[in-house]
Each structure stands twice: as structure tokens, then as C-alpha cells.
């Protein structure tokens, strides 16, 4: 299984990474190796197996709607690389879900 450079670009974009074209080549090879390795799982017949989304097998674990205290603003912001008037600050971003 060989990833194309376009696919690598797409994955990089989704991960918010900027790659040089050398890196794209390099990761295309590396990621292809990883995928081939993982591909071995396809040797197992899983037709009758349900996907495991949770390992706990629990259901309906619900919490009552009661307030508990939040963190102090200082504590919340203590590791922020930039802050202002109680806000976290990032460089400008535009609507781009």
C-alpha cells in the first residue's frame, strides 16, 4: 500500500502541519510502511466480530446535574504562552472550523 504525495499533503493539512516537498516524499514512504504493517490485521476474519468502541462495556453512566467549583482563573492561565485580561491569546485566526 503506497500513499501518494497528495494523500500525505491532505493528512498533513488535517494535522495542521506544513511539510517541505522532501518531507512529503519521506513521510509518504514511512506512512506507507506503517500502513502495510497494520494491514496484516486484515488477515484475520472479523466478519462476525463487533467493533470495540469502548473497553468498559458500560452503558448509561450519567452524572447528576450539580455544580462543583471550577478552577481559579490564575490556575487556568498559568501555563498559557500568551494571555491578556483573563483571556488566552493566540495569533489571529479566522472562521475556519
Amino acid at each position: 500500500m503506497k500513499l501518494s504525495q497528495d494523500q500525505v499533503k491532505k493528512v498533513a493539512n488535517l494535522a495542521n502541519l506544513t511539510l517541505t516537498s522532501e518531507e512529503e516524499d519521506k513521510y509518504a514512504d514511512q506512512l506507507s510502511d506503517v500502513l502495510s504493517y497494520i494491514d496484516q490485521l486484515n488477515l484475520v476474519d472479523t466478519k462476525s466480530a463487533e467493533p470495540t468502541f469502548n473497553v468498559t462495556d458500560l452503558s448509561n453512566v450519567l452524572a447528576d446535574d450539580e455544580i462543583t467549583p471550577s478552577l481559579e482563573q490564575d490556575a487556568v492561565l498559568q501555563n498559557a504562552s500568551a494571555k491578556k485580561d483573563g483571556f488566552f491569546v493566540t495569533k489571529g485566526v479566522f472562521e475556519n472550523e
Partner: protein
């Protein structure tokens, strides 16, 4: 020109008024609070923090779904919607995608001709709100107080054909949220948000158009309707000119009265949804769901129908009286108390509607009943009708009219009495006296 048909689908987001957040127990009472004072490791997405589902929010979401005739899924799960944007610190929003809580509902609305049409509801699912971003001077300020506040999204099929249907639907949903007591559904505050997907197609076509324009960030019913109407016109004009329309997001500029491009979607979003391994599934038996459906309060449209039927009041009056649950309840209480005083439901309804009374406490009832008892009811208010009665009485009592004109002021009472008799007392005597004086000058 070709004939076109409008195709609209709506997405409504509503913030629930639970006490605590969706997946942690921080307070949701963030409005006006200092930034980042209602957060914890869970809603800040700190490593290792584990989300915990808010029971009340799930019940609220199910109530909304049931009220909208949805089925409740036997099994539903939360998934992670992955995207890079700092409005959520985790790098994903916990939402529902393949296993939503409520599916396949419908709601009846009125179109512009006053006909009833059914809007299919694809789903009502539970998710979390995002933090609030403020953009200024090339920087973005982030406040995570709103991050993870419970949010329900109600998505329709593209069944709307005109803006009357859209308006009716949105109003009904707002009314429903308030009746159920699950949200204040205030548009301006952002408790309730509308998004419309708008496109047009040649009349008679069955397939959905190849594009759709998403109208977003519009915070009033009126602006949404204006934006849709503008879009339909713009799109038809473009198609008639042979232009190709594209998938894009547009906002509404109220000053220019037009929509404007916010974002062009070049490729489909790739959110890489996958089940959230931190959150156990939700499962409900049909008995539990049945019980919940039974426990729903009377819905606004049910109340409307019952009022018209049981109290024989006009549809218009019933609409006004059922707008809010509290005033509807007080109206019914007034009917009960009115019966003891031989006051009819119709009299109470007319009085409240005509006098534009806002019922919000028990005390209002007593004063309304008293006014009706004293003042007589079903008063003739129409000015031209009153003038007609007055002039008729003057003609029929010519002698008294002449006597009055010559200075015998007491003669006016004769004519006044005649008007009272003609109208079966359904007029305000002071008002008639005034009209008589004006007419006999």
C-alpha cells in the same frame, strides 16, 4: 424566465439551561462572567481529564426529540468531531454523528398560503458548545467559559419551500424549548441559533441541487427570513444568467440588506468522526422511552388545538394565549374562576387579547375577572360602528336632539339611553356621551 422552486433545510442549535456543563460539573452560568472562570481540566481539554455525561442534558435532548415525533435510538453514542480551531481546546468537539439520540421526527408548519405541511426532522442530537473567540488587532482572545455547555442540534430534511414555513418552524421550536423548560431560547443571547441551507431548482425537478448556500451567524428570525429571500432571488438571477453556483457560507449584512460570502468550501470537510472511547454508550428500553413520552407536558400546538375545541375561542386568540406556557396556564385558571361568576371563556379570551394583557401572575386573574364583571363584556370597540349607532339614535330622537341643541343638556340622556338599548349595553357610556356631544355641535 424558468420557474424555480426553493429548497431549504434548517439546523437549529439550542443551548440547554442545565446547571452544569455537558461533560463536567462546571457552572454554565457564564453570561457576563469574567473570562475563563468557569472551566476545569475537562472543558479545557487537559491531558488525562475524563468527561462525564450530564444526565439532565440527555433527558432534555430526549424530551425535545420526543416532542418532535422522533424515535429514540435504542443505542446511541458520542463521537469526536476533529478539527483545528481554538474554540475548543481538545482539538475535537464531542458530538453525535452515526448514532444520534433522536431520529426520524417531523413537525407540522404553515406555509405562505396558510396550508399545513410536514417538515421531516432528520435528527436531534446532543453535543457541546464551543468557547468564545474575540478577534482584534490580529490577535484572537479565547474564553472557555462556554466550552462544553450542553447544546442540542435539530436538523431537518430539505423540506422547506418558502420562508413562511421557515419562520413558523423556528418560532415553534423556540416556543417548544420554552414550554419544555429546557432553554430560554433567546436568539440575541445566542441560546438559540439558526442555520439555513438554501438552494433553488427548476420546478418539477426531483433531485437536490448540486450546491447549497449555508446562511450562518444570523441572530434573529427577521434577518434570517430576509437573508433567505435575498438568497433565493440572487440564486435565480445567477442561474438565469447561466452562472454556476458554488457551495459557500454566507452571512447577512443588515445595513446593505444583502448576504455576503464568509467562506467558500473548496473541499468537503473531513472531520474524521470516531466514537469517543471515554464515553459509555446510551441505551434506552422502549418502556423507558414510553414513560418519558407520557411524562411530556402538553405541547404548545396541542394546547392550541384544545383551547379552540374546549373553550370555543378563535384560532387567533388561542395562538396568542398559548404563546407562553405560564400565560396559557393562567388563562385556564381564569376560566375556572370565571365560571363561578358566570363569565365565559370567550369573554376572558377577548378581554385579554383586546386589552393586550400579559398574564404573568395569579393577581392578574382577579383583576381581569373584576374588570369583565364590572365593565360589561364584548364591548363594541369599532369606531365606525359606534358612530353609526350614535347617528341612528339622533335621527330617531330628533326632538331630544333639537332640545339639546337649544340648551336643554339633560335631553342628551334620552339619546344616550337609546344607544345603550340598541347596543344591548355593549358600549362605553362615557365614550357615547362624547360622540353624541361631538355630533350635536
Amino acid at each position: 424566465m424558468n420557474k424555480y422552486e426553493t429548497v431549504i433545510g434548517l439546523e437549529v442549535h439550542v443551548e440547554l439551561n442545565t446547571k452544569s456543563k455537558m461533560f463536567c460539573r462546571c457552572s454554565v452560568d457564564y453570561f457576563g462572567a469574567k473570562p475563563n472562570t468557569h472551566t476545569c481540566p475537562v472543558c479545557l481539554g487537559l491531558p488525562g481529564a475524563l468527561p462525564y455525561i450530564n444526565k439532565q442534558a440527555i433527558e432534555d435532548c430526549m424530551e425535545i426529540g420526543l416532542a418532535l415525533n422522533c424515535e429514540i435510538s435504542n443505542l446511541s453514542r458520542f463521537e469526536r468531531k476533529n478539527y483545528f480551531y481554538p474554540d475548543l481546546a481538545k482539538g475535537y468537539q464531542i458530538s453525535q454523528y452515526r448514532w444520534p439520540l433522536c431520529i426520524n421526527g417531523w413537525l407540522e408548519v404553515e406555509n405562505e398560503k396558510g396550508e399545513k405541511v410536514v417538515i421531516r426532522i432528520n435528527r436531534a442530537h446532543q453535543e457541546e458548545d464551543t468557547g468564545k473567540l474575540t478577534h482584534s488587532n490580529g490577535e484572537t482572545l479565547i474564553d472557555y467559559n462556554r466550552s462544553s455547555v450542553p447544546l442540542v442540534e435539530v436538523v431537518t430534511e430539505p423540506d422547506f419551500r418558502d420562508t413562511a414555513e421557515v419562520r413558523d418552524y423556528a418560532k415553534k421550536l423556540q416556543q417548544l424549548f420554552r414550554y419544555l423548560g429546557v432553554s430560554n431560547a433567546d436568539m440575541e443571547r445566542g441560546d438559540m441559533r439558526l442555520e439555513a441551507n438554501v438552494s433553488v431548482r427548476l420546478e418539477g425537478t426531483k433531485e437536490l441541487p448540486s450546491y447549497r448556500v449555508e446562511l450562518k451567524n444570523i441572530n434573529s428570525f427577521r434577518f434570517m427570513v430576509a437573508a433567505i429571500e435575498y438568497e433565493v432571488k440572487r440564486q435565480i438571477e445567477a442561474l438565469e444568467k447561466g452562472e454556476k453556483l458554488v457551495q459557500e457560507t454566507r452571512g447577512w449584512d443588515e445595513n446593505k440588506k444583502q448576504t455576503f460570502v464568509q467562506r467558500v468550501k473548496e473541499e468537503a470537510n473531513d472531520y474524521r468522526y470516531f466514537p469517543d472511547p471515554d464515553l459509555p454508550v446510551l441505551e434506552f428500553t422502549s418502556a423507558e422511552v414510553g414513560q418519558m413520552k407520557n411524562d411530556l407536558p402538553e405541547l404548545p400546538w396541542e394546547k392550541l388545538e384544545r383551547f379552540v375545541e374546549d373553550y370555543e375561542i378563535s384560532l387567533n386568540n388561542a395562538k396568542i394565549l398559548t404563546e407562553e406556557r405560564i400565560s396559557a396556564d393562567l388563562f385556564e385558571e381564569a376560566i375556572k374562576q370565571g365560571l363561578e361568576k358566570q363569565i365565559k371563556p370567550q369573554q376572558i379570551a377577548n378581554f385579554i387579547v383586546n386589552q393586550k394583557i400579559k398574564l404573568d401572575s395569579e393577581e392578574d386573574i382577579a383583576s381581569i375577572l373584576e374588570s369583565i364583571a364590572n365593565k360589561k363584556v364584548d364591548m363594541i370597540e369599532d369606531e365606525s360602528e359606534l358612530i353609526r349607532l350614535v347617528q341612528e339614535a339622533i335621527t330617531e330622537n330628533k326632538d331630544s336632539a333639537d332640545a339639546y341643541k337649544s340648551g336643554k343638556l339633560g335631553a342628551l340622556n334620552v339619546i344616550l339611553g337609546s344607544v345603550m338599548k340598541k347596543s344591548n349595553g355593549k358600549v362605553n357610556a362615557d365614550k357615547i356621551r362624547q360622540l353624541l356631544e361631538d355630533n350635536l355641535k
